[in-house]
Amino acid sequence: MKNKVAYFGVFTAFALILSYVEMLIPIQFGIPGIKLGLANLMIVIMLYKRNAKEAMMLSVVRIVLAGFMFSNLFSIIYSLAGGTLSLIVMALLKKRESFSVMGVSIAGGVSHNIGQLLVAMAVVETYRVGYYFPVLLIAGVLTGALIGVVSNEVLKRLRGVDLG
């Protein structure tokens, strides 16, 4: 039990560092508040080493903490939408076992961005954000692939390490 809490703390810390790194990367998608989702890396690892429930917990804790530390309420709402949708999709795909970490992570990246876009559409009450849609899809594939490669390596090294 003690062990589990300690690992959770370490994961949260890593996820916060990634959120900070993300803030420093000057990539904009034309819609304010939309982010790459690098912290998804820790979520993917948590999902594979533990389970969907703990990954969800990590996701929410990370988003709220990062939101208060680095940004504002808007970005918390964006991130929650992106993070939650992404986690649901990843958990479902992982269960089916016909996707590797790469596929799961890419689906996570794409749905992360779709979730954020949906919030953006709701906030500004417009349906005319279609122009950004393809950009966000491709960005999701790229970040998802990047996270997939890294998670794969990390998971290989963590093989045999029992978290909690």
Binding site: Q28, G33, F74, S98, V110, T126, R128, V129, I138
Partner: protein
């Protein structure tokens, strides 16, 4: 990588390609207007073929010239709207989230045959 991973990637890219293609194929509209909404409420519409500067509630300034609309000034902290490129095609938009302002191009009903034969 499993087969399904590749299928997933291909599917996403195809969808992105379709949306992107649709965007490129949408003709720049003669007689199109820039529609400005604040918090979802229509603030005003401005013809694209008329050069003008529109001040939106003292928080943003939109400039229309050469058939394009561009946000040239805003008091928002992120300045993302100002950094966006000029828009001219139907469906394109500039969003200033802090001020809840959306500028989007609306083509009226002249976007298909008329525009082609023009």
């Amino acid at each position: 990588m499993k087969k399904n991973d590749w299928i997933l990637i291909a599917a996403v890219l195809v969808v992105a390609g379709i949306f992107f293609g649709m965007h490129l194929l949408t003709p720049g509209v003669k007689g199109g207007v820039a529609e400005v909404t604040i918090d979802g409420v229509l603030y005003g519409t401005y013809a694209l073929d008329e050069n003008q500067t529109v001040t939106i509630r003292d928080t943003n300034r939109l400039e229309i010239g050469e058939g394009k609309a561009k946000m040239v000034w805003a008091d928002c902290p992120d300045q993302i709207c100002v950094n966006q490129k000029a828009i001219s095609k139907e469906g394109e938009s500039i969003i200033c989230l802090p001020n809840k302002i959306v500028v989007s191009i609306v083509g009226g009903d002249k976007k298909t045959m008329d525009a082609v034969t023009y």
